[in-house]
């Protein structure tokens, strides 16, 4: 009988722990829900008032004249994010492949923590370095003010490297060695093995790393404000200044009021939706991989 009681008591404490963990897990999710509701509640009414089309496709952002066209910022965000991926993905994947498949253990044991340290540098420092070195360099070599799409893309490309590299390394390492052995025993070279067996097997992890890098690039604000020039016009070239959605909010929130303030929340809504769409598309791409069904 005593034994029976003890089992009952243990089951009781198990349930308690289960319930409290459930509460904690849900409170994390509820923060997301609250943020979503708040942004949409603040931003949607003004979008409805002036028309969704005017917001998304309007080219003029003159808050004082009640003109809230977000197209330049939407194009700007997509452009610098794309630029960051063009620079960051090849570099990141190449580094990850080198560190996992080609370098010796000692080199990768030294380099991986160093690369991860890059993620710890505050973004304002990246922006500062960009402003001091990259912007003058672009100004002298290519012309223009230097504050440009190109500068923002390069800085963001560097900033997303640690994310892409460390997640790619983890997913490449998770590929069983037996695949490599099997492929090499069939007469494949190391590089053929990487290209035809290891990378396809690691694909979902690689895509996840790129998604996270992309999320960081599109959400980054401070470094971009410092090097991008921030003119609210659709950039005509890579050397033209650009303003992103996040910059738009950060630059004007301090003094905005009334409808202007609401329009900045609307900017947040657009950003939110774009990030959701990109995530969805990237997940779709990841799921198409070859796997055991």
């Amino acid at each position: 009988m005593a034994g029976g009681n003890m089992i009952a008591r243990h089951e009781g404490s198990d349930r308690l722990i289960k319930i409290s963990l459930l509460v904690v897990a849900f409170s994390a999710v509820s923060v997301l829900v609250i943020i979503t509701i708040f942004i949409f509640e603040q931003g949607l009414p003004i979008m409805m008032k002036y028309g969704l089309k005017n917001f998304l496709l309007g080219q003029n952002w003159f808050p004082s004249e009640k003109s809230f066209g977000l197209l330049p910022m939407i194009v700007g965000s997509l452009l610098v994010t794309l630029g960051a991926l063009v620079i960051g993905v090849p570099l990141g994947l190449a580094s990850a492949i080198f560190l996992t498949e080609f370098s010796n253990r000692r080199v990768s044991r030294f380099l991986k923590p160093v690369i991860e340290l890059l993620a710890g540098i505050p973004s304002v420092v990246y922006g500062f370095l960009g402003l001091m070195f990259l912007v003058p360099f672009i100004r002298e070599k290519f012309g223009g003010s230097g504050l440009s799409v190109l500068a923002a893309s390069i800085i963001l490309g560097i900033m997303i490297l640690p994310t892409i590299i460390s997640i790619s390394i983890d997913s490449i390492r998770a590929v069983p060695d037996s695949y490599r052995e099997g492929s090499i025993a069939l007469g494949a070279t190391r590089w053929q093995t990487v290209r035809m067996v290891v990378l396809p097997a690691a694909r979902s992890g690689l895509v996840a790393g790129i998604i996270l890098g992309m999320g960081r690039a599109i959400g980054e604000t401070m470094a971009v404000i410092m090097v991008a020039g921030n003119a609210a016009d659709i950039p005509g070239s890579l050397l033209a200044p650009v303003r992103t959605l996040t910059s738009n909010i950060a630059l004007e929130m301090a003094y905005a009021s009334g409808e202007h303030r609401e329009a900045l929340f609307a900017t947040g809504v657009v950003l939110f939706v774009i990030i959701m769409i990109l995530n969805f598309l990237a997940n779709l791409a990841a799921r198409k991989q070859y796997r055991k069904k």
């Binding site: 099997g182 007469g187 053929q192 055991k292």
Partner: protein, 252 residues
């Protein structure tokens, strides 16, 4: 007169400080099945990976002596290792289908050599699966994942994949250790048929398997070759007491 295909001369292998193969001298004749038996860690598998130089991949691995395959020392500098590995196809203890379709697994090796003509490949796939005794079971689902096959089917797929390389030698490292008796029997039957076209080296921890399929059998112990002879002789009147003890199950 038997034709010597592989000749191992004073061959030793080291992992770092530790010597894993000790001064081996051994011949493999063409179109025979050479069985290699011996307890765990006796160097059987290491010997196989030395033959196709897969052992090179292990850091700290080092060899002395010679292995002549068709008269050519494979540890000569300048040997093209990928081509060597195609010539000596290897099947591992655990089946390792690559994470792609059955068809793609088979054409993986040939495609590396640039054979990209589809018609050619379809015939090759059928031929190799037929020889490995798997064609009837998978002919309707060549495009499905190889990972969905059963263990025994996966191992026969690995064998078929090796045949697709058109090798001269087949190295098998305990190919049936994880398989049920029926799958084991199918593989053994296949090996007997393959013998007329290939030279086969079969490492096995199952002495009865060597007795069933090998023409000659070698007994390895602690990195040494204790003896090698006709399988019938090894199993009835071995020259060395240690061989007799191992076969009778007194150790190992």
């Amino acid at each position: 007169m038997k034709d010597t295909a592989i000749q191992v001369i004073n061959f030793s292998h080291f992992y770092g400080q530790q010597q894993s193969l000790k001064n081996l001298n051994l011949q493999v004749y063409r179109n025979e099945i050479l069985g290699i038996i011996g307890p765990a860690r006796s160097g059987k598998s290491t010997f196989l990976t030395c033959l196709n130089r897969l052992g090179d991949l292990v850091p700290g691995s080092r060899v002395t002596g010679k292995i002549l395959i068709d008269g050519q020392n494979i540890y000569c500098p300048g040997i093209e290792v990928a081509a060597l590995r195609r010539q000596l196809g290897m099947v591992f203890a655990t089946p390792v289908p690559l994470p792609m379709s059955i068809y793609d697994n088979l054409v993986f090796g040939p495609k590396l050599q640039g054979k990209k003509y589809r018609l050619d490949l379809d015939g090759l796939v059928e031929d190799c699966l037929e020889k490995a005794g798997l064609w009837i079971e998978v002919k309707d689902r060549l495009k499905t994942s190889a990972l969905k096959l059963s263990g025994g089917q996966q191992q026969r797929l690995c064998l078929a994949r090796v045949l697709a390389l058109k090798p001269e030698y087949i190295l098998l490292d305990e190919p049936t250790s994880g398989l049920d008796p029926i799958s084991t029997m199918k593989i053994e039957d296949t090996l007997r048929l393959l013998k007329k076209d290939y030279t086969i080296i079969l490492v096995t921890n199952n002495t009865k398997q060597a007795a069933r399929v090998a023409d000659r059998t070698a007994f390895f112990l602690m990195g040494e070759l204790v003896e090698v002879n006709e399988t019938g002789i090894i199993f009835t009147r071995p020259a060395d007491k240690r061989t007799e003890n191992y076969i009778e199950g007194k150790f190992g």
